[in-house]
């Protein structure tokens, strides 16, 4: 289970202090496919960053599968992310100097999975996303849709407990975007992980459960 209690996050900017999250509390059961919706600036990305250990909150606590992640030291938090989390961002997810198979293999190598097991998993994922032929390609040789599918394969390669996706379809056309989300749902289910994604797309929210609405950094009542 993922639990967030009284989380507040503010940022200093040229326009003064901006409160991105205000006393947000929520809990998400393991294995769910969760959508976070809201307008631009509603705090979706901040919420995901806080959940993923990328942004320490000013107040409140966050527990991921029983671990208070912000009580961990930097190195321990990195190792927690390495073992239990996967991320997909809106764009620029892949490391430009590694090939597709090296990108997918990176989290596996980080988790000590090497040799034939690693290669087998890479090929399995490439087959699953239908991009086996791109194994030796570099990221700049891929289309946006292909790059997002590879990012997704990389995010689930090490079978994380939590997959966080921050508007992964925002740069894609509707059809490709829906295919990516569908793939995400299935890959997440394959490795039995909790998927939390931020999106504007109402069609995507239809397949999510629960859907968390954010407005001005605060939760609205859930739709499901």
């Amino acid at each position: 289970m993922i639990q967030m209690k009284g989380v507040t996050k503010t940022f200093a900017s040229g326009r003064g202090i901006i409160t991105a999250l205000k006393k947000v509390s929520l809990s998400i059961d393991t294995g769910r496919f969760v959508a976070i919706t809201g307008k631009s600036g509603s705090g979706k990305s901040t919420l995901l960053n806080c959940l993923g250990g990328l942004e320490p909150p000013d107040e409140g606590s966050i527990r991921c599968f029983g671990t208070p992640i912000y009580s961990l030291q930097r190195r321990q938090l990195s190792l927690f992310q390495r073992h239990h989390m996967g991320f997909v961002f809106q764009r620029g997810n892949l490391l430009s100097y590694l090939t597709v198979e090296e990108n997918i293999g990176l989290p596996l190598a980080l988790n000590g999975i090497t040799g034939k097991v690693r290669l087998h998993r890479i090929n399995e994922l490439l087959d699953r996303i239908g991009l086996r032929s791109t194994a030796r390609a570099l990221p700049h040789e891929l289309s946006m849709g292909e790059a997002q599918r590879i990012s997704l394969a990389r995010a689930v390669a090490h079978s994380p407990k939590l997959l966080i996706a921050d508007e992964p379809t925002a740069s894609l056309d509707t059809e490709t975007g829906h295919r990516i989300v569908e793939l995400m749902r299935h890959l997440g289910r394959d490795v039995d992980c909790t998927v939390i994604l931020a999106t504007h797309d109402m069609d995507i929210t239809n397949i999510a459960d629960p859907v968390i609405d954010l407005k001005d950094g605060q939760l609205l009542e859930g739709r499901k």
Binding site: R75, F89, Y97
Partner: protein, 391 residues
């Protein structure tokens, strides 16, 4: 970090460098140029020192001077490993005169054939020739010639300080070295002509390039413990010794300064590299790459880039040095003609030594490592979310 992880992250760093080909190339060119230029400059510094030493030592004195050696020891006994040649000399104080003009001086009895092989005094003869064996001839300096109103062919008289026969000598040649000790108070005549083959003698020992005089003296001291006095050129000419040390010191400072600037250049370039790829580092951090691993990757990038660039720079520097050295060196006579340390020749032959060969690449490597710390620290201090928001 275990060996497997070190290999893995090294491979990641190498991939980064190969995929960032143009940027890596541009940065490498800077290091290659600096390393090769400094190797050549260091070799030139060694060459200048060699030239000063060659000019000074090979003009007359030799690398080692030995005093009051007995008849029982011959020049062949001093020809140990590293010795190029041993010259026998006998000194005789007295007065040299022409008509009513006289000068107190030291006559140096020499073996003309061997002297001409190992010393460069003949190159400084401005009139006449070197004295020849078994002839009552004398080689005098221009200052002495002026003082005695003599020229080649003039008959001079030498009366030794200690009563013995008086020598009548013909001036065979006149030299000028611009070195005070040689231009005043000394003249040269064949050893045969002064009957000095027997009795105490002095020696000038000439060594092969790079052989330490102190080590050869140690060998002599082991052979004849504490019995005879030998002095190296650095004891006899402390001013030259200091000048050579100063040359090495100033070259060392130049190397440090150049690589200080190069290191700042490398650090700035890596900062640009990192800022350009900042998002990727953010993604890596989000994937759970620790600060230590990130630091290692950046350091390995610098290490790889430097190892390759320094190796190329090393080869290039050696090549330039070899070409210049074998093509007759660099003739600086126009700038050294009035300098006593370049009295014979102003040609510089750059020479590679451990200092000139290893100084620049080792300094480049160490400075680059320091340069890597700056971008690595910058990266580890940034929060992942901040990095991802930046670009």
């Amino acid at each position: 970090m275990n060996l497997k992880a070190i290999f893995f992250w090294s491979r990641v760093a190498f991939s980064f460098l190969t995929q960032s080909g143009r940027a890596t190339m541009a940065l490498s060119i800077m290091v290659v140029t600096a390393v090769s230029a400094l190797i050549f400059l260091s070799a030139m510094a060694v060459g200048v020192n060699d030239a000063m030493l060659r000019n000074t030592v090979e003009l007359f004195s030799g690398h080692i001077v030995g005093y009051d050696l007995p008849d029982t020891i011959g020049p062949e006994d001093l020809a140990v490993k590293g010795v190029k040649g041993v010259l026998k000399r006998v000194f005789l104080p007295g007065v040299l005169s022409h008509d009513d003009l006289g000068q107190s001086l030291m006559i140096c009895g020499i073996m003309p054939d061997r002297e001409q092989i190992f010393t460069a005094l003949k190159k400084r003869i401005i009139a006449g020739n070197y004295p020849q064996n078994n002839r009552a001839e004398i080689l005098i300096s221009q200052l002495l010639a002026e003082a005695l109103n003599a020229q080649t062919g003039t008959q001079l008289t030498f009366k030794p300080k200690f009563p013995s026969e008086v020598f009548r000598l013909t001036v065979s040649g006149i030299y000028q070295t611009h070195i005070e000790n040689l231009d005043r108070g000394i003249a040269f005549m064949p050893l045969d002509s002064i009957g000095g083959k027997n009795g105490p003698w002095s020696t000038a020992v000439f060594l092969n390039t790079g052989v330490s005089p102190e080590k050869v003296i140690d060998v002599y001291q082991q052979k004849w413990p504490g019995r005879y006095r030998f002095e190296s050129w650095s004891t006899l000419m402390p001013d030259l010794s200091q000048l050579i040390d100063l040359e090495y010191l100033s070259m060392g400072i130049v190397i440090l300064l150049v690589f200080g600037v190069v290191a700042i250049g490398i650090a700035c370039s890596f900062i640009i590299f990192i800022i350009k790829n900042m998002r990727e580092y953010g993604i890596m951090k989000a994937m759970g790459v620790t600060d230590g691993e990130m630091f290692f990757v950046i350091v390995m990038k610098v290490v790889f880039m430097n190892a390759i660039a320094s190796s190329i720079g090393l080869l290039l520097g050696c090549l330039i040095t070899y070409v210049v050295s074998t093509a007759g060196g660099i003739d600086l006579t126009a700038f050294t003609s009035h300098n006593q340390y370049f009295s014979v020749s102003g040609v510089i032959y750059p020479r590679l030594t451990e200092f000139s060969l290893l100084g620049p690449p080792v300094t480049a490597f160490l400075f680059s490592l320091v340069a890597a710390v700056w971008p690595a620290t910058l990266l580890s201090r940034k929060k992942t979310a901040d990095i991802l928001r930046m670009i």
